[in-house]
Structures are given as structure tokens and as C-alpha cells.
Amino acid sequence: MSVTAIHDDHHDHGPTKGFMRWVTTTNHKDIGTLYLVFSLAMFMVGGAMALVIRAELFEPGMQFVDPLFFNSMTTLHALIMVFGAVMPAFAGLANWMIPMMIGSPDMALPRLNNWSFWLLPFAAVMLVSTLFMDGGAAAAGWTLYPPLSLQAGASFPFTIFTIHILGISSIMAAINIIVTILNMRAPGMTLMKMPLFVWTWLITAFLLIAIMPVFAGAVTMLLTDKFFGTSFFNAAGGGDPVLYQHLFWFFGHPEVYVLILPSFGIVSQIIPTFARKPLFGYSSMVYATASIGFLSFVVWAHHQYTVGMPVEGELYFTYATMLIAVPTGVKVFNWMSTMWQGAMTFEAPMLWAIAFVVLFTMGGFTGLMMAISPADLQYHDTYFIVAHFHYVLVSGAVFAIIAAVYYWLPKWTGVMYDERLANLHFWLTTISVNVCFFPQHFLGLAGMPRRIPDYALQFAEFNAWSSVGAFVFGFSQLILCYIVVKSMRGEGEKATDEVWEGASEHGLEWQLPSPAPYHTWEHSPHIH
């Protein structure tokens, strides 16, 4: 094995000045910041689209937009939130925190890192620009099922190309994270000593390199079906549209775990800190994460119970899907046991983490209901699904990201955020997210289909509630923006190095100064 020592003659040099710093940077903290700021911007853009949807659905009848534009909004909202907001936020957190947590001076491949970020703004601009093209933006839903998705207008190749770019970006980020974690740990940082955030990201990164290429392949087939006369999904030429669904969900189900595993990691960092106890069942957490990662590859057709599978297939996918609830249950159990008899305090990160555990578990329960194929025949493609995945993605993934921001913001900026405002943000968000999404369970059970701009009168009341919740939720996020901007400008009480009482026992990052200097761990820390 070749061993090279990194030169450390002038380790106190800071960033270059001005705008070019951000374009050319290879520093993991700069790139982490870029990812996080980009993600927040996309969260607002995607959120605005959600408010267009909810405004139209406030009352039955058509009020504001035409059906095609409505469908474009549901499609772009989902694509932007998944690929523009949640995944880049996790990538940003990984960039900032993984090197600091494993005692490494930077990511393993810093220039690749710069590139994988800078692809994103271009992809985002291209995706949003499709709204102004002939025939409107993609409107067949984020799943892009053919033959409907093939009927799009001029925007079609741009949508596909956007997905290619986003895919390449996240594959590169995943590769970088794997190499960093496997190769850059400080001496003594064995795998089973790694913080759970690092573990969950390692497994997520493996999922990403396995599924993003398959998705890229599937959308390439859509492209050649449309423009080059192939018949992968075209029945007239001997293809099969259902094939696309199998390819998509082979990607799609592991993808939903890409969106949740890093959240598991974040919550597993925060709860021990504020319960002032070590994480309960560390190694069972690692094994549970690994088994969730593995199982996620063998359950994909639970999204396709209605395509006409044989009974054996329905049974297999039902049981396999329900099996995932076992390792997930182990995790929830461990979080609760960590809190059990802990000396808990409820600063903002802890509030969000606890809300995560409660609300994510509710999403898991509805998931179990839909896993049962005879029951899912009724739930499928109704608002029940919409309620399910918003509980796991908004009050799951997004809550965890917000928890992480509050948790590490003082370390990044060196100042404490305003706890009272953060509490206000928490309560407004948590109440409104439930007002928004809880009624959607009832709507779905009563038979309201998803992805429709107009609906029957009996659904009016719950939809009105849901829209009110959505607007309160959306505007509450301005508080988050305000808090973040204020901290980034260095306004606020100075944070200690440890930030949270006793935190230095819970991770290497708390042994560094606040704000974390531009270069950290150029000398490896000592790990016991």
C-alpha cells in the first residue's frame, strides 16, 4: 500500500476571497455549505409549487390553474423535493460532518466533490425551464410512467437529461463518500466506532451507486423509445409498459431509503446528546440499517400490486415488505430506550428529533397497511398514499434535516441560534404538518384519487383543512430561513466549543473550536 504524507507547512491558510471562492472551492466545508444553501433554495421553490397545488385543491372545481399545469406542478414538486432538496441536504450534511466525525482533513476526492455540487444548479435551472417550453413541463408524475410520460411535448428530452445530470451528481457524491469513509478515518476509528450518521451514509452511498445507474438506464430507454424507434415499453413493438414500472421501482424503493437512512443517522446522533446517555444498542442499529438497505432491493413490486401479478407474487411482496418493519422497529425501540431514564432537555434539535420518531413511526404504520396487498388494492393511487409518504418524507426526512441544521449550526457558524424563534418554528411546523397531512388519510380511505386537480364535493372539508395546514407550514419555513441567515451573518450569542452540555462525549466534531476552522484534523485526533 502506498503511503503519502500530506504536506502541512501552512495549514492556517483560509479561503480565497470573493465569489470565485465558491466556484473553485474544494474544501469540504465550503461544498457542504453550497449544498445546504442550494437545498434550502430548492425547498422553497418546491414548496411554492406545493402551495399552487394546495391552493387549487382548497375548494372543489377549477380555480387557478389548468389541469395540465396542475399535473406539471405535482410532477416538478416531487422531482425538486426529492432530487433538489432532500438529497442535496443530506449530501451537504455529509460533506460538512463526515470528515469532522471520522477525524479526516477533507473528503477523499475534493475536486470530484466540487464537480458533483456544481452540476446541480444547472440541472435545477434546466428542470424549471421546462415549464416555459412548448407543451409544458413533464406532467406524468415523478415516476414518469410510459406511455403517458412519452406524450410530453418539447420538454421531454430536457426532463430526461436533467435526471441524467442529477444521477451523475449523486453517483459522484456517493463514490466520494464511500472512499472517504473507507479510507480516510483517523487511526483508531474502527468501523464499529463510527458515529451512526457516518454508518447510515455509508450504506446510503452503496444504495445510491447500485440504483442511480439503473434509473439512468430506465429513463434512457424512455428517450430511445420516443426518439430512436426502440420498443422497450411499447407494446406494438413487442415491449411492455409494465417493464418500466419494474425498472423504476427497482430504483424507486431503495431510493426512498436513500431519503430516510441518513435521517436515522441524524436522529441517532441527536437523541443520545440530549438524553445524556450513550446510544442504546449501537451495533443493533448498524445491523438494522444494513438489513433495511439489503431488504429494500427485494420489495419493489409493492408499488405495483394492481398491475396483475399472480397470487404468489402478491404474497411474496407482501411478506417481504412487512419484514422491513422488523429492523425499522428495532431502531424506534432503540431511540426510545436511549431516552428512557435519560436526563433529557428539550432544545430545538431534540424537539425535532422526538417529533421525527413519533411522526415517522406513523408513516411506517400506514406503510404496513399498504404492504398488505389485498388492502392496498383499495389504497393504491389514492390520497392515502400521499399521506403515507408525506409522513415519512416531510415529518421524517425533512424534520431530521431541520434537526441536524439546529444541532450543528452553532458548530458551523460559531453562534447560537435564537431558541425562542426555533421553538416557534417547531410548534408551527409540527402542528401544521399534521393539519395538512392527517386529513389526507381520510380522503384516501374515502376514495379520493391522487394527482387530480378537481374532486367530488364530499371531499371538500378535509381538503380545505389540508390546504390551510399546507399554507401555515409553508410560511413557517420563512422562520427557518431567517434563523439560518442570521446565524450565517454571525449574529447571536457566541457558542462554546462543546455547544451542547456534555456533547464532546458524543462525537469528534464537538472537540473542535466553534466555528469550525477552515481546515480541521490536519493532525489526526486520538481515538480511544
Partner: protein, 180 residues
Amino acid sequence: MKERFERRSNSKVLWPVVLVSIAMFGIGFALVPLYDVFCELTGLNGKVKSEAQAEAGFRVDQARWVTVEFVTTVNGEMPLGFRVETTKLKVHPGEYQTVKFFGTNQSDRTLVGRAIPSIAPGWATQFLKKTECFCFSEQTFEPQKEREMPVRFVIDPALPESVADVTLSYTFFDITEKQQ
């Protein structure tokens, strides 16, 4: 005491990971034929063999009736009138039957179409055997003319007892433009 950071070469980890990503792109495409093989082996998805099968002498099961229903669909806006002489037929397993389908070209240009069969329930597919079918090849329809298209089939007596109804459906796709 602090140690200087010593770094092992990244490429030992990097290249295997890059190769996995590239391989997965290939596997995505490989799934297409694999999926067909899987459907063929298991008879899932109602995917029907598109070749004729030789006429075999099954023992006719006089005691049992199976209802075969026929569905005709035209995809998109193809100007074709597509119908079948009867929508329902009661047959004994093992007994050969012929049903006539008709296609009428309602336009003033020649149409080329391709019919894609599908059988429900999917797991009955392998037990419905066709010795003659217009779905084996593309069909040409002269302007404003009607054509008769017979289908000869048999239900294999091995069809599980639980299946009493089988639906055979055809969808005609317009491939006129692809032919030119």
C-alpha cells in the same frame, strides 16, 4: 501527542466503486431480457408466445366447461373497426375451436397493424394454446375493406381446476408509419 495525518492511496477503494456503478448501468439494461425470460418461465404478466404451436391430440375433458371471453381493442386513433363474431364461448378443455375476428379499414389509405394478445388471468396463459392467429404477423388492411381473421385455439386440460373463465384480449396497434 498529535499524529500527522497519513493517507493511504484512494484508488484501491475508488476503482471498485466506480466499476460497480458502471456495471449497474449495464445491469439495468440486462434486466430487460431477464424480465422477459422470467415472464416466459413463469407465464406471468399474460405475455403470450407469438408463434403458432403444433396441433397436439389432447384428451377432451367432456365433464368440464371453461368460458373463454374475447375482447377487442384498438389502440389510439387507428381507423380500424375491430370485432369478433362472438364475445363468449363455452368450451371443453382439449377441444379445438375456431373463432373469427374481423378488421375493417375505415380510412382511404392502406393500414398496417399489429395485434398484441394478452390473457387474463396471467397464470392461465400457458394453458391457452393457439395454432393459428393473426397476431403472429403484421396485418395489412386495404382501404375500406373488411378482412376475416380466424384464431384456432385449445385449452390445455392441465388448466388448474380453479380457473373457470379465461379472457383473451387483442389490442391492435397502428404501425403503418413505422413500415414506410
